[in-house]
Amino acid sequence: MDTAFLLRILPVLLEGLEITVALTGFALVGAAIGGLVVVAGRRSRFAAVRAVTIAYIDVMRNTPVLVQIFILYFGLPEIGLYPEAFACGVIALVLQNSAYAGEIYRAGIESVNRTQTEAALSLGMLPRRALFDIVLPQALRRVLPVLGNQAVVILKDSSIASTISVTELTQAGKLLLDRSAAPYETFFMMAALYLAMAAIILAAMRLLAWRFPVRT
């Protein structure tokens, strides 16, 4: 392995990394919020809302991100919308991962004992306040590790945006692979950068889990 070459390609890959970080960041925030919408719909009073939400979750979880990205990028122009590739990447990641995040939240909420809600209501709290102040804090603490894993999934799936020519880390690496005769160095560097980011995400989640421990 040629270390001088590693240093030469690093700036190119770091440029790609910036886009990957942006994609992942936007998708993370979007999915965290979208997940709340999904779980609200999934637990709605109205059967129709619940049915629509369940259908949404099923469709999103049973089709590949690649297909969703392509439908957005090549399908939307047919109805007169021309979104940028980057935006398509973010939207596809948010759509798919909101479904997953919603189910994770739901698992957390359902794991909180019903008596907690009953206790809060009997103290005179409004149902909304009981949910936000009593149930959600406990639920979110419990699902932090799972959310961390899902965040890593988002990071990894952001590589799929390379197929619609977003020059993120994978695409930057692919262009280098096309041009250079040094596949191992490029491949090694890409993998190392992804691993480093996954490690950062997991460390951040560890930190959050330590700051917000599950109390029993």
């Binding site: 439908i71 990071l155 799929i160 390379s162 692919k174 191992y184 890409m190 996954a198 490690a199």
Partner: protein, 200 residues
């Protein structure tokens, strides 16, 4: 849709199913090896297996597929796209399958080992007769979920020039999503059914 289009897509779907089946088979075998290594092997090997799982799960599959596609020829290895894809995905999902099997094996209460030993089973017998049947029931639902993720990820093979459901679909139109759905949805339903009905 014209009949030719339908047959074209049916062909793509069958390639997807066959690829997924091959990957699931390979990754299950490797994953079982990983799980057993992590749980029962010589401690340094356990660390190695844990490291493998950690590293593999931190790298996107697409990067591995592209990386192997570009670097294998430099090693003098020229595999057909499908073969390369099956091997790469097999090793990649072995890390996930390994976690599934390890989780199931760990979920069998320790007391089961003790009980087996107290009726005179040797450890291998104990594992085969007492532990494995219980673990097998526990791992069905997570195994199905991982298999579903394999099916979805076969779409990435199109990125290195493989010719399966996704690329045939791309040629034709946007009905691809529906076909994936038709393959994945029953798997998902089966998984949640098993999850609800296995009283572990």
């Amino acid at each position: 849709m014209k009949l030719t289009v339908l047959t074209y897509m049916a062909w793509g779907a069958s390639v997807t199913v066959m690829l997924a089946a091959a990957v699931i088979l390979l990754s299950s075998v490797l994953g079982m090896g990983l799980a057993l290594t992590r749980l029962y092997a010589w401690p340094p090997l356990r660390v190695l297996a844990a490291g493998y799982a950690l590293v593999t799960r931190g790298i996107p599959l697409l990067v591995l597929l592209i990386g192997c596609y570009f670097s294998l020829p430099y090693l003098g290895i020229t595999l057909p796209v499908y073969a390369a894809a099956i091997v790469v995905m097999g090793f990649y999902f072995a890390a996930y399958m390994g976690e599934v099997f390890r989780g199931a094996l760990m979920a069998v209460p320790r007391t089961q080992w003790d009980a087996g030993r107290s009726v005179g089973f040797r450890s291998l017998q104990n594992f085969r007769i007492v532990i494995l049947p219980q673990a097998r029931r526990l791992c069905v639902a997570p195994f199905l979920n991982s298999s579903l993720s394999v099916v979805k990820n076969t779409s990435l093979i199109s990125a290195i020039g493989g010719w399966e459901l996704f690329s045939t679909g791309r040629e034709i139109g946007e009905r691809t999503g529906e076909l994936y759905y038709l393959i994945c949805f029953p798997l998902a339903r089966l998984a949640s059914y098993v999850e609800r009905h296995s009283h572990a």
